[in-house]
Structures are given as structure tokens and as C-alpha cells.
Amino acid sequence: MSWFIQTCRSSLGKKYIMALTGFLLGGFLLVHTIGNSTIFWGREAFNAYAHHLHSLGIFVPIFEIGLYSIFFIHVITGVLLWLQNRKARGPQKYEVQTNPGGRTWGSQTMIYTGATIFVFILIHLANFHFVEKTEVLTISDIVTKVLNNPGFTLIYIIGMSVLALHISHGFWSLLQTFGINDPQYNAPIRVVTWAVAAIMITVFVLITLLLVVSQNQLLG
């Protein structure tokens, strides 16, 4: 096992951890997106989906623990890398800061978008996960209520946008980290990166907007 620890501690090993956990979190996000899309079919469909998830019994906490672990490994490794990189960069900054090419908004802000997402997720969990749900107050009610608060509407739209920025670099970056970079595929990879990020974000934002615009019908 010593080789495994050694690998995980090396700079490239940490990159693999970031890439793998990022990939898994992205996968979860995708499933989450698809699941949430049920709301386009009405609140019954949405509640049924939630109910179905909760009926998985023992799998729910197992899945949750797994997801939290992955999430925290991603966060902790990211912070470690950030600290190590700051140290490697040294105390004396360049007098002139330019971008000679290559850097994107997404790539430059990974640590900041990451931190923002972290806060956003805490809010998100507080809003929807760690709340008491009853027969009367279903998940769709909670969601509708929260999202109709203009403050939360804004927080959710910002959160989604920041996530999009994070993914715009993250997805391409994880492929590069795993060594997937070939002129034959680079153009499609770029397209897929943007498309995945755009679709996920569009869906979430649409849900938010949908809930805001059509609250009466849904609540009715």
C-alpha cells in the first residue's frame, strides 16, 4: 500500500484525486439534473421521484456518506494544492500580471469558484436537505417556497453560474490530467465540456425560473 500513499501524496497523484473526485461529483450533478428535471412534468412527478429515492432505505445513507467523502476529498485536496502552489509561486509576485494566452476565466478562478460552490452547497443543504419534510409539506413545496424568495433566487442563479465556470475548466482539465489530449479529439472535447456545463446549468436555472414564474399553478 505504500506505493498508493506515495502516489496520492505526489503532485500528480493529487491531480488524479482532483480529477477522479471531480468526475464523480460531476456525475452526481448530472444524475441530480436529470432527477430534478422531473419537475417539468409537474409536482407529483417530482414528489414521486423524491419519494422513490427515499424508499431506497439503507442505500441512502451509504450513498450520502460516499458522496460527502468524495466531496470533502475534492475540497481538501484542492485546498492542499492551492497552498502548495502558493508556496511554489513564492512571496515575490510579478510586477506585471498578464495572461500570455491559455488562461481562461474558469481556469484562473478555480479556487474561488470552488470556495463559492462550497458555501453555496452548505446553503443548498440547509435549505432542502436538513429540513423536516412531512406529508403536508412536500419537497416540492419547500423548493417552491425557498426559490420564491428573491434573495435565494439570486443566490441560486449565482451559484449555478459559478458552478458552470468551475466546470468549464474542470471537465477539460480532468481529461488532460488523465492524459486524454489528442489533436483528433480536442475540438469535440471542448464542445462537450461547454455543452455539459451549459445543459446542466440551463436545466437548474430553468427550474428556478419555472418555479418563480409559475408558482401559483404549482402551489395550487
Binding site: 505526489s10 503532485s11 509561486r89 513564492g90 510586477e95 500570455p100 481556469s107 477539460w172
Partner: protein, 254 residues
């Protein structure tokens, strides 16, 4: 080839030693020919300083034709200056305008401590090569050169990577101060060629761990390195290194 002259202000880093505190120094230079190279402009400045009995600015340089990898500084925020695929010695003053202020700083990174003024210690790159940037073959009587066949396109790709001049601009420009392009180029060159296969796995692992020991950062896949690389080496070679490292870590034949 007609050249004119320009007046410029050079704001240049002065630091007496590794532990000394550095600062910028301003020099106004008159009548610099746009036909002169960037380093010749520094020569002119240094000559004027020497004539006044002031110590010239120390900077590394040698071949002055873009191949030895000795020169390098950050000019207006960009390693090797504003032109693409150009070393500092190949940069010419025609890239600047009359009245410009040019800010010149040493390559900065924890792995490249400043020795004096613009000179930095890049011996970490040598140590990284010592960790595995070679094929273990003794001089003597290897097999006939043509008994190792290498398809042209593979040889060309290996040459793309091998073009690295070891200047360290990749690490200097990298937001994380990582010389991944330097290491990637060497690992990739040898991974592409049959000669390098036998040691491919240990090479990648050893070179990367040597990089870590020397205080460099991690690749953030930001691609700045390939944009400042004077030889235009692609981060595709970093991707190949990542694959090699993965193989080397998870599929050791031990």
C-alpha cells in the same frame, strides 16, 4: 532592414544576492536601434553603467540564437517577452515603441532562487533530469542504428518534445510555478521512442517526485506554459506524461 531609434525607460530588477532584498531600478535609454536585439539593448545599458563605474545588471545569456536556453527574463509580465515562440535573445527592439517603459524581472519561482539581478538558479531542472531523463545505455557498441525502426510521424512527435531548451520559462510563467512542460517534454520524448520504453514507468514516477522535492507547484492545466514556450511545445506532452505516471504508479511490474 532599415532601423530607426527609440527612447525607452527600462525598469529593471536589481538584487544583490539570494537573500538580499531586491527592488526595481529605472534607466532611461536614448537612441536604441530598433534593429538591435533585446539583449543588445541591455548590453548598451550595461556599457553605459560600466563607463560610470557602476556595476552592470547581471543577466544570463550565451548563444544568442535561441537554442542554448541560458537567457530568460520576464518582460512586461511575459516570460521571454511579447513575441510568440521567441527566446529573449531573439526578441528585437522593433517590438517596442518610442517612449515605452519596459519592466524586466527575473524568472520567479521558489524552485528558481535568484542568484543576482536577473540570474536565477535553475539547477533543479538538472536534478530532475538526473532522476530519470535518460536512456540507460553505456557508450560502446550498441546495435546498428537502423535496427531500431521508428515511423516518421513518431520520430517527428518525439522531436517536437525534444526541442525543449531547458530555459525554465514554463515554470516561471506557470501560475503554480510548475515545470510540467519541461518534464512532460522529456518523459514524452522517451515514451514515444522504443529506446525509452524499458524505463518508462520508473522514469515518470522518479522525475515527478524529484520535481516535488524541489519545491515546484502542480499543473493546473492552465496552458500558460505552452503559450510562453520559445519552442512551442504543446501540453499534449504533459498529457502523455500523465498517462505514463498513471501507468508507472498503478501498474508497477514489481
Amino acid at each position: 532592414m532599415s532601423s530607426k531609434t527609440i527612447n525607452i525607460i527600462v525598469k529593471i530588477w536589481r538584487q544583490n544576492g539570494p537573500h538580499a532584498k531586491g527592488s526595481f531600478e529605472d534607466h532611461a535609454l536614448k537612441d536604441i536601434s530598433t534593429g538591435s536585439s533585446f539583449l543588445e539593448m541591455l548590453d548598451v545599458m550595461n556599457e553605459a553603467l560600466a563607463n560610470k563605474g557602476i556595476e552592470p545588471i547581471a543577466f544570463d545569456h550565451d548563444c544568442r540564437e535561441g537554442i542554448c536556453g541560458m537567457c530568460g527574463a520576464v518582460v512586461n509580465g511575459t516570460a521571454h517577452g511579447p513575441e510568440k515562440e521567441t527566446t529573449l535573445c531573439q526578441l528585437h527592439m522593433r517590438s517596442f515603441k518610442d517612449g515605452d517603459t519596459i519592466i524586466i524581472e527575473p524568472f520567479r519561482a521558489t524552485g528558481f532562487p535568484v542568484v543576482k539581478d536577473l540570474i536565477v538558479d535553475r539547477s533543479a531542472l538538472d536534478r530532475i533530469i538526473q532522476a530519470g531523463g535518460f536512456v540507460s545505455v553505456n557508450s560502446g557498441s550498441p546495435q546498428d542504428a537502423n535496427s531500431i525502426l521508428i515511423p516518421q510521424h513518431i520520430a517527428e512527435q518525439a522531436m517536437d518534445a525534444a526541442a525543449c531548451i531547458g530555459c525554465g520559462a514554463c515554470a516561471a510563467a506557470c501560475p503554480n510555478a510548475a515545470p510540467m512542460l519541461f518534464i512532460g517534454a522529456k518523459i514524452s520524448q522517451l515514451a514515444l521512442l522504443p529506446q525509452g520504453q524499458h524505463e518508462a514507468k520508473t522514469r515518470a514516477v522518479n522525475m515527478v517526485s524529484c520535481m516535488d522535492e524541489n519545491g515546484f507547484g502542480n499543473c493546473g492545466n492552465e496552458r500558460v506554459c505552452e503559450n510562453v514556450c520559445p519552442k512551442g511545445i504543446s501540453i499534449r506532452h504533459i498529457a502523455r506524461m500523465n498517462r505514463e505516471y498513471l501507468k508507472g504508479s498503478f501498474f508497477r511490474d514489481e
